[in-house]
């Protein structure tokens, strides 16, 4: 029957993806309500109201999807969100590099980390020309240094480049 539903309605009616955010919201609402359970009423009334409304809305949504599934109008299978492909691999690579970027900045400073991040991220996204990889990474990271650190005084932990520029200028 499941297979019939799939062939009948195609990938467009796969509703699994749409459930991810409501489920996350539901879990967060439960966690929120758990953290306020011992607080004074003034501290919890707002969270209690908003959390309850959120849970109610999610339940209505789940019931709506449940009805559609039982009527074979849609299925609970996942669609594009978790589908594997070249774009998904690039996306995961890019996000992984972004996480590394945030972790490395405190040690290597903004300018050097940004240069390395841009180089690797562009490589992951398919840029292969060494001139473009090096040129764009250097140009953007130095622009970032000038704009954010030199002009706008954003106080990132200093790395070797910031220390060198600090000595020179």
């Amino acid at each position: 029957m499941k297979k019939d539903t799939e062939t009948q309605h195609g990938r467009a009616n796969r509703r699994g993806d749409e459930l991810v955010l409501p489920i996350l919201s539901l879990l967060f609402a439960i966690y929120y309500l758990y953290t306020i359970k011992d607080l004074a009423w003034e501290a919890k009334i707002n969270g209690l109201l908003i959390g309850s409304v959120l849970i109610l809305l999610v339940l209505i949504f789940l019931i709506k999807i449940g009805i559609e599934v039982t009527r074979h109008q849609s299925s609970l299978r996942f669609g594009e969100l978790f589908a594997w492909g070249r774009a998904q691999a690039s996306r995961i690579g890019l996000f992984g590099l972004a996480v590394l970027y945030v972790l490395v900045i405190p040690y290597a400073g903004y300018t050097l980390t940004t240069c390395l991040f841009l180089f690797l991220a562009m490589f992951v996204l398919g840029v292969r020309s060494p001139v473009k990889l090096i040129g764009v990474s250097l140009a953007l990271s130095l622009t970032g240094y000038y704009l954010f650190i030199a002009l706008l005084d954003t106080r990132f932990p200093p790395g070797p480049v910031e220390k060198l520029f600090g000595m020179l200028f």
Partner: protein
């Protein structure tokens, strides 16, 4: 005080003579407005020593020019790369970005610039003449009314931003609960902080903005080689010259009435302390669509979908300064910094200033008028060149967006944690975008969450814990009715239209 033509013309001349601070402030404002996270408030704090050494009129002209141009600048990335510079421009991408994808970025930018400048100009001129009247609006909005105004705004966003009201509401209320992370307003008891000390002050709005808009957009960009479609590229290659700017100007002026009334929405919302540009932009967008003859075109790259939010969020600028100028009460963080500078120069704001020094409050608004006039000449010619950003391959654009916007997440509080938090919001935003939940609704929820709680708790304390206080005010009750109508009307209208169409086809 005599409100004569001579008085106004002397103010205008005095403001014109401040061009040497207004023009640089416009350039700085456009840049910082266009970079998510670097709002006017942060920049004014950095430039505070500079403003303190100037005389107070010049300092105010500089700050007002920077404030107005930052508001206009926020629409630029919203149109070009689907990332609003500030939350006030969160409704602009709905129609701005689809136009960019069609290769019409230059036209979309022109529409945005003309709407911003005209909207801001109209609102500031009106404010000059109606300053005493507008200053009274704030008196009618107390805690109860503010709670309803904010819920109304959130509901509108949920209804406007998606075809599916239920999904819009889930996104908005989820945002509200995220915005309620952190200390409560009575005991400062931390709530839902996941054990992170950095969340004990609540969720930083800028990190949320950058995450749900910029990071998620960068992650989505990996699916395409260019923002612009192939058809759009052909259009840009063959037709995009100065003509596109002229077409945009013509389109905007042809819809001048649209700009006028949406700027008044912005002014009205701006006068109410705490409501702000995001609500104004969404209310204007929703009203524009409601009264449009072609509502189905909204969200597909409709010019009026750009004009309405941009005109409204620039109408807010003069409105938000009115409580400051008339009562000495800052309506937001930028106004609070202005207040510091004004007080440093020994000026006390309040009703007496209209007797003692009337040229000061009117002069500030006149500086705004002059700023908007200057802005048209400064920025319109740039639309052609800015639109080329959309042709940059996403292989370069996505990494650049991540590295530049994460700085914006770090800048306000200088916590590395906030950059990580922006990435978490990026994943939430990515999931939301891929599955049809509007990220604007999440963001506006995060912004309004703390405000709603603050006003709600104040109302409850005044009423000694009686929740019926929320229905105790006439204005509040009228707003409740509108709130319910805004939720019920769209499905009813849709049902009615469908029924009518069915009958016609029979």
């Amino acid at each position: 005080m005599e409100f004569t033509f001579e008085f106004l013309s002397s103010l205008f001349t005095a403001s014109l003579s401040q061009w040497y601070v207004i023009v640089p402030a416009i350039v700085i404002g456009l840049i910082i407005g266009a970079i998510p996270g670097l709002g006017p408030a942060n920049s004014l704090i950095i430039l505070l020593p500079f403003t303190l050494v100037l005389n107070v009129e010049t300092a105010m002209a500089f700050m007002v020019a920077l404030y107005c141009s930052a508001r206009m600048g926020a629409g630029i990335p919203a149109i070009l790369v689907n990332i609003p510079g500030t939350a006030g421009a969160a409704a602009t991408p709905f129609d701005g970005y689809p136009m960019s994808q069609k290769g019409l970025a230059q036209r979309a930018l022109t529409l945005s610039f003309v709407a911003s400048a005209l909207g801001g100009l109209i609102a500031s001129i009106f404010s000059i003449f109606a300053l005493p009247l507008l200053s009274r609006v704030g008196y009618y909005f107390h805690s109860v009314e503010m709670v309803v105004v904010m819920l109304f705004g959130l509901t509108l966003i949920a209804v406007v931003s998606t075809g599916n009201t239920l999904k819009g509401l889930i996104a908005g209320v989820f945002g509200l609960l995220v915005g309620a992370i952190g200390p409560d307003h009575i005991y400062s008891a931390p709530r839902a902080t996941f054990g992170f000390l950095e969340l004990y002050d609540g969720v930083p709005v800028v990190a949320a903005l950058i995450g749900v808009f910029a990071i998620s957009e960068a992650l989505l960009m990996t699916e395409v080689k260019s923002i612009v479609t192939d058809v759009g590229k052909v259009h840009m290659a063959t037709q995009t010259r100065w003509a596109e700017t002229i077409i945009g100007v013509r389109m905007a002026f042809k819809r001048w009435w649209h700009i006028v009334w949406t700027s008044f929405i912005g002014l009205g919302v701006g006068v109410v302390p705490g409501a702000g540009a995001p609500i104004a932009a969404f209310v204007a967008y929703q009203q524009s669509r409601l009264f449009s003859k072609t509502p189905e075109k909204y969200g597909t790259g409709h010019p009026e979908g750009i004009l309405a939010p941009e005109s409204a969020n620039n109408g807010v600028t003069s409105g938000s300064l009115i409580p400051l100028l008339t009562l000495g009460v800052p309506g937001g963080s930028t106004a609070a910094i202005m207040l510091i500078v004004i007080q440093y120069h020994g000026i006390t704001l309040g009703p007496r200033i209209f007797l003692d020094r009337p040229e000061f409050p009117y002069g500030v608004l006149m500086a705004m008028v002059v700023t908007y006039l200057f802005m048209v000449g400064t920025i319109l010619p740039l639309a052609r060149y800015m639109s080329r950003v959309t042709l940059v391959p996403t292989q370069f654009l996505a990494p650049a967006i991540i590295s530049f916007t994460l700085v914006g997440a770090f800048a306000p509080r200088m916590y590395m944690f906030d950059m990580g938090l922006a990435l978490v919001f990026g994943v939430i935003g990515y999931i939301a975008r891929k599955t049809g939940y509007q990220v604007s609704a999440i963001l506006i929820g995060v912004i309004l969450g703390p405000y709603i709680e603050q006003y709600f708790m104040r109302a409850l304390r005044i009423a000694e814990g009686n929740p019926m206080v929320l229905f105790s005010s006439r204005i509040g009750n009228i707003l409740w009715v509108f709130l319910v109508l805004s939720l019920v009307a769209p499905p009813l209208i849709g049902w009615y239209k469908k029924r009518k169409a069915d009958h016609a086809s029979l």
